[in-house]
């Protein structure tokens, strides 16, 4: 049973868990797709995404975040999880609990194959992913958040903690580097 099922019913917005349930329902897919495009690895994106939401949930219990402010907050946690992954060679999510129900295994595989067809094997994605991989992490983050996630510079500033001018500079330098690499 997932959190979305867990908090459906009569207590949707009356409880803290119910309010987090709405955030989870609204943004799980978005954060997952962001991590998938960033990492290019389905299983890793799934683990990182689950750990992102679990950390967000634990933090939400201590200090509630308004729905309107929750998306940049989730991106921030997701980027932090990704950074942790980069630090350790083998990512071991510490908080994630996984339960795969045998009858659902087919649906799980189907979704993985679907992601493979829709994103990971897409020629445009693969080309851009290899170009992005050669950028500095901060440049890559700024570019992905701006173009792929369609966030405003102010939102990116909230997520990364960088000034708007610095973000513009990272985006510009990153794009130039991508152009140079693709032309060479």
């Amino acid at each position: 049973m997932d959190l979305s099922q867990k908090y459906t019913g009569q207590v949707i917005t009356d409880t803290q868990a119910g309010r987090f349930g709405i955030i989870y329902e609204s943004y799980f897919s978005r954060i997952f797709n962001f991590l998938l495009k960033k990492s290019g690895n389905f299983s890793l994106a799934r683990d990182l995404c689950a750990d992102t939401f679990l950390k967000a949930f634990l933090s939400f219990q201590k200090r509630e975040v308004k729905f309107q402010e929750s998306l940049p907050w989730l991106y921030k946690i997701a980027l932090n999880e990704y950074r942790l992954h980069l630090r350790s060679r083998k990512y071991k999510p510490k908080l994630v609990l996984k339960e795969i129900i045998p009858e659902q295994e087919d649906s799980f595989l189907e979704e993985e194959q679907q992601a493979e067809q829709e994103i990971l094997s897409n020629e445009n994605y693969r080309k851009l992913h290899s170009l992005l991989a050669q950028l500095k992490e901060v440049q890559k983050n700024c570019i992905m958040l701006k173009y792929v996630e369609g966030l405003s510079l102010e939102e990116i500033s909230q997520i990364t903690g960088l000034k708007v001018g610095t973000i513009k500079s990272h985006v510009s330098r990153g794009l130039k580097k991508m152009r140079d690499i693709s032309n060479s």
Binding site: S4, K6, S29, N33, G150, R179
Partner: protein, 155 residues
């Protein structure tokens, strides 16, 4: 040159329209009652004294070895209890010390227990998530109890 950058920008923007469905991959989240990373060190701390005590007793009574700071500690604990008359089995302090592993086990149980409320079915799910340290603490606690029981019945 500028067109190249525009093209890259367009290609990146196109990525925003590519999304995959992951409804089946939403993780099952169950809340732990206590976080293992907090409960395990406390439980290990609680086990330290009874372990030292039992090791001292085993060294002295079974192996007949004297390791001053271990056997001395056990002896000291038995002797400060006025009701023990030198017998550690009937010592109130040793019984009190053996209550600590029980608390340690309860802490570990709370940290490995996960709960989830199923509103639709009016169910409350409980499950255990085992971790190595939790297992070690439970085994150590039972070993302490076992050693005490062996002494208790052999006397």
């Amino acid at each position: 040159m500028k067109n190249d950058i525009k093209e890259i920008e367009n290609q990146l923007t196109q990525l925003s329209h590519m999304n995959t469905s992951i409804t089946h991959h939403k993780e099952i989240i169950k809340e732990p009652i206590l976080l293992a990373k907090r409960a395990n060190p406390v439980a290990l701390g609680l086990l330290a004294f009874p372990m030292l005590f039992m090791i001292g007793i085993i060294l002295k009574h079974e192996i007949h070895a004297e390791v001053p700071w271990i056997t001395g500690f056990s002896e000291w604990l038995v002797n400060i209890d006025p009701h023990s008359s030198g017998n550690f089995v009937s010592s109130n302090i040793s019984q009190l010390l053996l209550g600590l592993p029980l608390i340690a086990i309860i802490l570990v149980l709370f940290s490995i227990l996960r709960s989830a409320k199923v509103n639709e079915n009016r169910e409350f799910e409980l499950s255990f998530k085992l971790n190595i340290w939790g297992g070690v603490i439970i085994i150590l606690s039972f070993l302490i109890f076992l050693a005490y029981m062996v002494f208790l019945f052999s006397r």
